[in-house]
């Protein structure tokens, strides 16, 4: 059972060896970890992976893990963390990079690979901001 954002962020360490290296390289000290900063790192990693290896098992595993966290979330903080820290950062990163000609894949390409709960959170963000970034 995950009891905090910190534990939710740490749960990603076991999903992807590549992401584990990046997270631990940035900050090896588990106590000092900031889950919102980790969420940002996770978002960058997923955005990069979706551009470089869009059909990889690693990307599939990471997106499935996001879905698992949202499905098992019994507290609103869990959904908030996944939604704002990871999904919103992915949306912004991907759409900004694409607008700047720094990537080919659209935000909508990632949306298509998400699970049901993740898509719901993604759409909530589009509604909240009044901007659908999927096709930018």
């Amino acid at each position: 059972v995950i009891e905090s954002e910190k534990e939710a962020a740490a749960s990603f360490l076991g999903v992807s060896p590549g992401l584990r290296l990046v997270l631990l390289d940035e900050l090896p000290d588990e106590i000092e970890r900031d889950p919102w900063s980790d969420g940002s790192t996770i978002a960058v990693y997923i955005a990069d992976l979706s551009e470089q290896e869009p059909e990889s098992a690693e990307l599939r595993a990471l997106l499935d893990h996001i879905e698992d966290l949202l499905t098992s979330a019994t507290r609103s903080w869990m959904k908030d963390w996944v939604k704002v820290s990871i999904l919103e950062s992915i949306q912004n990163l991907v759409s900004n990079r694409r607008l700047a000609g720094r990537r080919l894949q659209k935000a909508g390409d990632i949306y298509d690979k998400l699970g049901e709960r993740s898509r719901e959170a993604w759409r909530e963000l589009n509604t909240w901001w009044g901007s659908n970034v999927d096709d930018l």
Partner: protein, 220 residues
């Protein structure tokens, strides 16, 4: 784009009457609980208040094209060099293309949440600050980046400007959180709501203190 609270209340009074008559139908946005405070009280009349609020607020929104140009200009100004990838990543995450809220930045989202929650808590609804902790985290990361002095002067200037904008929003949100904790206590909300609000506020105070120290150091 901070609306004076009194002005919004006045707008609500006028627009609320029109909404009752079925003249207005502005979309409402999802509202989520702050921690386990979902038992704080019934959300009576919240949706109609938010609809009226959004209509009043939408009149103040900026031109999306102008926002996009500003953001692109900002991103194009980031040169290469140490720390530039970190700065570009931070700004890529900070801004949302085409957003209808302020300049599409996280600071604007936080300002929006403060305004929304000031209405919600008065209606005994469940408050939510989805962007508060993201802002605090970005405050801390930008503070560390600025303090490291690894950026070249032009990039350092951009980072300082971003940090300044973010801590202004964090400072205002922190004050609002403390105020909401007091309102929650006065209205007899659960202690959990008050406690959770205080915890968030203290996190914001720490981030603002760090950022202020860093900005003073680099200004010297």
């Amino acid at each position: 784009m901070t609306l004076p609270f009194v002005a919004v209340m006045a707008a609500l009074g006028m627009i609320g009457l029109a909404a009752v008559g079925g003249v207005l139908s502005a979309p409402s946005r999802p509202v989520h609980a702050l921690g386990p405070s979902a038992s704080a009280g019934p959300a009576v009349g919240i949706s109609s208040r938010l609809s009226a609020y959004h209509y009043a607020e939408s009149l103040q929104r900026a031109d999306p094209l102008e926002q996009a140009n500003l953001r692109e200009q900002l991103l194009s100004e980031i040169g290469d060099g140490p720390g530039s990838a970190q700065l570009r990543n931070a700004i890529d995450q900070l801004y949302r293309p085409g957003a209808e809220i302020g300049n599409g930045g996280t600071a604007a989202a936080l300002e929006e949440e403060v305004k929304l929650n000031q209405f919600i808590i008065r209606g005994r609804g469940v408050i939510s600050f989805e962007h508060f902790e993201k802002s605090v985290s970005l405050d801390n990361n930008l503070s560390k980046l600025v303090r490291s002095r690894i950026l070249d002067p032009a990039n350092q200037r951009i980072a300082v400007e971003q940090l300044d904008e973010l801590i202004t929003a964090t400072r205002e949100a922190t004050a609002a959180l403390n105020q909401m904790a007091d309102i929650g206590r006065d209205l007899g909300f659960s202690e959990v709501t008050t406690a959770a609000t205080r915890v968030l506020a203290s996190t914001g105070e720490d981030a603002v203190r760090l950022a202020e120290t860093v900005l003073e150091d680099v200004a010297e």
